[in-house]
Symmetry: C2
Subunit: 381 residues, 2 copies
DNA sequence: TCATTATACCAAAACGAAATAAAAAATCAA
DNA sequence: TTGATTTTTTATTTCGTTTTGGTATAATGA
């Protein structure tokens, strides 16, 4: 499909003029000081703990102790060794460290790689982990089952001591990792999960938020509402959102019509396709609850393509609060999940279980309902 | 900011009814067969190559040979060992494997973690790598300099044998990793790069595409055009886009006014802010070339908030072709980078350099100009 | 004073896979 | 049948770190 336009055989600077640039009309400041560059040079020279020991004239054991912040090192010795480490920009060998089964590497499996919400959650977890100097092994997989098993195998190959699972997991797969003998934190609650002896979870209070969405759409006057979700199973986050949503409607005497439920993958494309076919076939539906912002964004585009307007003809409410939701036209009304909070709590729970052998806990955090422009009062004709 | 709504002390299934669900009105098929679950169970039991050797009644060396597809193993022995491996769902220990410096782990540093284009490129590379059974160590960093150095250190700590760099790198930092004694592939061309002895690059023919963007906007009647880019330096991809763009205008006798250039980070927010302030202060500007789709999307939103319309009042052209560009309102005219192609070529180039010690090459691939709805003919008043 | 306890350090033994060197077995040539 | 060559297999060493089990030395208590 794509062809190569040009392949240069550049190996020397002299031949580089095919990339030769005219001077830009704007000048930019240099951003990295020379000392930084010099440091980077030294970073790449690969020393071992043995080299450091020799330089500091101590044993490797002592260096290891310093590196791991162990107590029984003389403060003077410690400082001396630290200076040598600092001066040579020494970094340990991750592999050698991982060989001893005593190491504490955290694994993360992100299931649903094209979902911006999950990506941002994973990023927040990595960021938080880096702050605490925890090492991570991350694996991004698609939502299909076989890839998940491959990730599980890779994760085990790295001998991680704890696992964070980002994304939802249907019961079958929770059961599939029941025998995994390490602490796990799920970023989604699942009924089956309670039977796992070493699994905690952090998730948004989906039922309440689902109820809020239902209340909002009801109070705006909507009665025939589409719901786009993705294969929820009893106990899963999605099912809880849906349950709350139905409860809200029922509390006003409106029963949700199963005909209005569509199962979609969580992507712009899937949201587009689902909305296009659904609203073409159901001209009486006036609102959509999309259980993922990606689906909502795709749906809004589809509704436009059907010659209808959001929110004038059809109101749309999303879920997740991904970055783009603040910039769409119209801006998306959605449930914003506190990504940083979920990340922080997930890591804390995992570390508690790993280090202090704490009992698993299931934590619900509060989300924010963001009322923006994509859901409005239904205009009667 | 966010508080905990509820923390359960769930440890047994019996207490689980706070999550108790009513039956859903829709039923979903189970998706994972029993055999798969049984397999996953066994995956987690962690065996060593020694165990396999004992079971197969051969030496560990032989097992190692089988695992690494070495030639000197009797086909019968190989099959026998493979059967044992298969039956026990054996997976090697990544750490032990990495300890020997003969191993071939690929590192990837993604600079600019919140940019969807870079994320999708990184994903494509991981996907491609998984297909070829290459192991990856990935590090996502922000665009700031210090984080980059930390990533470099982590990468070295994993003793990777090759590095793929995703995102643009200004000259200073290319120089900073000059001494890195492993093959590198950049997904962006940089003038400084040609002086690196073991660096290849794969990038889009940015100059041509920049020229196309310039031609497009000129032919639609635009003369006063804003350009939003991010700190380009001579030789960088962005500078080449910009160069092509300026050349196109100049070929029609229009000089680009440096006043119309804005330096922004590549994010929705930055695009929004830049557009909001720029177009408020420059009511005569009728078009925008955003060097990243994220910036374009943010800008479109800002233009709306200024009470203007895209493309009626202001035409916008983006760059990258991220997923969302097909679903915005209006759909975004942009330059679509062939992510899969860049991923494929990057890995191939790197493997050639790692395995066959091939000379570095600098490859330009063709991008697609996607003419959609965000750029239109300028209406004269 | 001598035993006891802490403190600060070290040598050597893991850890699991892979490479090396070398032995054993099979094949071939005369 | 013998020696040479190739194929297949093994025992042993290696990688860089942590841990184990220990030894000195200094401080403490009786």
């Amino acid at each position: 499909m794509y062809s190569v336009l040009y392949e240069s055989e550049l190996t020397t600077a002299g031949k580089c003029d095919i990339f030769g640039m005219k001077t830009l009309p704007i000048s930019f400041p240099a951003t990295l000081p020379e000392t930084c560059i010099a440091e980077a040079h030294r970073i790449m020279k690969s020393l071992t703990i043995k080299d450091i020991a020799r330089m500091a004239e101590v044993s490797v054991t002592t260096v290891s102790r310093v590196l791991n912040h162990r107590p029984d090192v003389n403060p003077d010795t410690r400082r001396h060794v630290e200076e040598i480490i600092e001066a040579n920009h020494f970094t340990g060998n991750t592999n050698a460290r991982g060989l001893k089964q005593s190491n504490e590497v955290i694994g993360m499996i992100v299931r649903g790689r094209s979902n911006p919400f999950l990506s941002s959650l994973a990023e927040a977890i990595l960021e938080r982990g880096a702050m605490l100097e925890d090492s991570f092994v991350t694996d991004y997989v698609d939502e299909r089952g076989d890839e998940f098993l491959a990730a599980l195998r890779r994760t085990r190959a790295s001998r991680v001591k704890g696992l964070i699972f980002v994304g939802s997991l249907i019961d079958d797969r929770v059961r599939a990792i029941r025998d995994l003998d390490i602490p796990i934190v799920f970023t989604t609650v699942n009924a089956e999960m309670a039977s796992l002896p070493r699994a905690s979870s952090v998730s948004v209070d989906d039922r309440t938020m689902g109820r809020l969405v239902g209340e909002e759409l009801y109070s705006l006057g909507h009665r025939r509402i589409a719901v786009f979700g993705s294969n929820p199973v009893a106990g899963d986050s999605l099912a809880r959102r849906f349950q709350g949503f139905c409860e809200a409607l029922e509390s006003h005497g409106v029963a949700f019509d199963p005909e209005c439920y569509r199962e979609t993958r969580f992507s712009y494309d899937a949201g587009y396709d689902a909305a296009r076919s659904f609203f073409a076939g159901h001209p009486d539906a006036t609102a959509l609850f999309a259980m993922s912002d990606t689906v909502a964004v795709g749906a809004i585009r589809a509704i436009h393509d059907l010659g209808k307007s959001v929110p004038k003809d059809i109101s749309v409410i999303g879920y997740d609060g991904i970055d783009i939701s603040r910039f769409t036209v119209p801006r998306l009304t959605t449930v914003e999940q506190p990504v940083g909070e979920i990340a922080r709590r997930s890591i804390n729970l995992l570390l508690e279980m790993m280090d202090k052998n704490a009992a698993p806990r299931h934590v619900l955090v509060q989300a924010d309902f963001r009322r923006r422009d994509s859901a409005a009062v239904l205009e009667k004709e």
